[in-house]
Symmetry: C2
Subunit: 313 residues, 2 copies
């Protein structure tokens, strides 16, 4: 069994990851400052002998003896990360510095939760890992995009300069149970609106595309990347099923049987027009590919959001 | 008169800047950790009543009352910045954070020494400020390129979030008296090699291009950008005179009357193939353009390098 540190472990992806690791018998330490999550996300794990919850901000040094680090700590929703852009940049860069310093000291393997946002507003589709990206470094998304690119740079420099054992996962849009109902992300917004019969708020004309990966598939991919030694990455982890945002709105209405209507609001700044992962590397090197199509994953998300006690949020 | 802080003030550009500011009667504080420079660069200023030299590393907080900050502290030569890539990233990012925190506290105006490297290996030429760049975030230059892009992001977020008065200068290749003879940059290498009758080391075929700006012109541009209020930038500051590296080698031989021969060595990783600033914005908004052509600047650099007491370095 391994001693595994999961930063951002109370978040959407982190909580699923902690749950899986605890179930496998590993000794899991979940580090979080609860900036975009609540303890309730991991309520079922609290009290288990091989689960420990530590309130800590990754921008400050943290000392622990561990074998693996999943560095997930960073707000992922544009609404959240644009709330305090300077803090978002600090979380990505200082967080990576501290966790890489930790990994160097204790010779742990570190997996960095990077993002498709490192590709910015991509001119190519699908996006392969070799594509350098088309990214604005002065825009409203830059605190996240450049923060995550700088974190990747730090990972590769700690690897080249100090021999730290890194894994870099470029995570594409992920949805499923465990999402925060009011995080402002498109899947949570549309399903919540559809359930409540409110207007479905499509930004722009809705022609922009995203590719949606169900959380169980995503967590599989992260663990596969962590526990192999053929590649340090970067490796795209996502579902190549590409949809326009308009299509997603229609699917949300269909899967909830809602009478909500679609309305159009202005497009946020620097909103990427398309996103579709090339997952050849994940398929061939990790032997991973997503199993759950959007058609099958959405109903699970709808069931989750419908059953939520919203007073918790 | 103003209280002006110049970080990296003992460096190539910083020392020229300090000299000009001191001559204008401003109260100048030169902050430097001497990572890529010596005190001798500012020997003529030491002892002057309105010049103060402080040994300090910008990655650590620094407290002073001042009106303007020129944030120049960062190794600029690829040889220097690739020597300790993690330190280079820290200098750019933590340095920007600390100087922006300082500027926020004392309401000073901060000019960030950014770079044409934020454009990476540009697909367009000349490069206008609106071009987002084509940058590798995992390569050997990333610690510098991504460090400087993240520093720009921080500047714009401190501006948007905290109202800090910023100026962002994208500096293109600059040469002239005051360069470190062994900094590994192309102008210093070629002139030193030509003077010593050594082989001129052209990396690759020498077809890659750069645009060379004489240091006096560059410093003019920085001060013009700092002391106007029509734009916060980014503004390209450079000389659009584009030359292949082969041409530069031939000019170095011509202007030294050297018998050195040109040899070819492997191209360093991620070496940009072309670089030429679009300086429309500087011309129209700052009323600035470079006056000294390479033909006229090179002899001044040759005179400087020839007269150097190399035991100082
Ligand atoms: N979910 C996606 O679609 C997606 C896509 C690409 C990348 N990612 C990345 O995956 C990771 C997790 O994303 P998520 O969807 O679970 O987001 P989330 O916001 O649900 O989880 C992030 C967690 O990190 C914590 N956190 C934030 N700042 C912190 C700090 N300074 N110190 C300690 N903890 C901090 C938050 O409290 C939260 O629990 C993030 O790094 C994100 O960038 C997610
Ligand atoms: N010269 C160019 O062609 C060029 C081109 C683009 C950008 N720039 C930028 O202009 C600035 C100055 O460049 P330069 O040519 O004078 O380089 P330089 O290396 O001669 O000067 C940099 C100075 O910063 C100091 N320094 C480095 N790290 C420091 C730290 N952590 N704390 C305090 N001081 C530190 C060095 O000791 C040196 O005195 C840099 O920010 C560079 O990125 C220069
Ligand atoms: O177990 C550790 C070891 C280091 N660090 C932090 O990681 C960062 C980088 O550490 P490293 O040793 O790489 O660099 P240095 O301390 O020399 O800056 C520093 O801020 C350390 O405080 C940490 O948080 N936990
Ligand atoms: O209520 C919403 C929320 C998001 N979006 C769009 O859905 C896409 C995905 O946005 P999200 O915030 O989920 O994440 P992103 O992929 O932009 O980081 C973007 O084009 C958004 O403009 C939308 O149309 N309506
Ligand atoms: O005069 C100052 C004021 C602040 N800082 C540093 O600048 C950084 C950012 O300061 P800010 O107040 O913006 O943010 P915070 O302190 O809340 O992180 C911090 O590390 C401060 O220590 C500094 O070096 N000099
Ligand atoms: O001895 C040298 C040093 C540099 N270069 C080339 O000259 C250009 C400018 O290199 P420099 O290090 O001066 O700065 P850069 O513009 O690459 O940051 C690059 O294409 C280098 O490959 C060269 O051919 N020989």
């Amino acid at each position: 069994y391994l001693r595994v540190l999961v930063t951002g472990g109370a978040g959407f992806l982190g909580s699923h990851l902690c749950r899986r690791l605890v179930a496998q018998g590993h000794e899991v330490v979940c580090l979080d400052n609860f900036f975009t999550s609540q303890k309730t996300n991991v309520a079922d794990l609290i009290g288990k002998p091989n689960f420990e919850l530590i309130r800590h901000d990754v921008t400050t040094p943290f000392f622990i003896e561990c074998d693996q680090i999943y560095n997930m700590a960073c707000p992922a929703s544009p609404v959240h990360y644009q709330y305090n852009p300077v803090k978002t940049m600090k979380t990505s860069v200082l967080g990576a510095m501290n966790m890489l310093g930790l990994a160097k000291r204790v010779k742990a393997r570190l997996l960095q939760a990077s993002t498709s946002e490192v590709y910015g507003d991509p001119e190519v589709s699908p996006q392969p890992e070799e594509y350098w990206g088309k990214v604005n470094c002065n825009g409203v998304r830059s605190c996240y995009d450049e923060g995550k690119r700088a974190a990747e740079t730090l990972c590769f420099d700690y690897h080249r300069q100090n021999g730290v054992d890194i894994r870099v996962a470029r995570i594409f849009n992920t949805y499923g149970p465990g999402m925060h109902p009011y995080d402002g992300r498109v899947v949570s917004n549309f399903i919540m609106q559809a359930i409540n019969g409110e207007d479905i708020t499509v930004y722009g004309e809705g022609k922009q595309t995203r590719s949606f990966c169900f959380v169980d598939d995503l967590v599989d991919g992260l663990m596969k990347l962590m526990n192999q030694t053929s590649t340090i990455g970067p490796v795209n982890i996502g579902n190549p099923g590409e949809f326009t945002i308009k299509q997603l709105a229609e699917l949300a209405i269909k899967h909830t049987g809602s009478s909500s209507k679609i309305v159009h609001l202005p497009l946020p700044g620097d909103d990427p027009q398309q996103r579709k992962p090339d997952i050849t590397k994940a398929r061939e090197i990790l032997g991973w590919e997503p199993k759950i199509k959007l058609e099958d994953g959405l109903p699970k998300a709808v069931a989750y959001f419908s059953s939520l006690d919203l007073s918790r949020f």
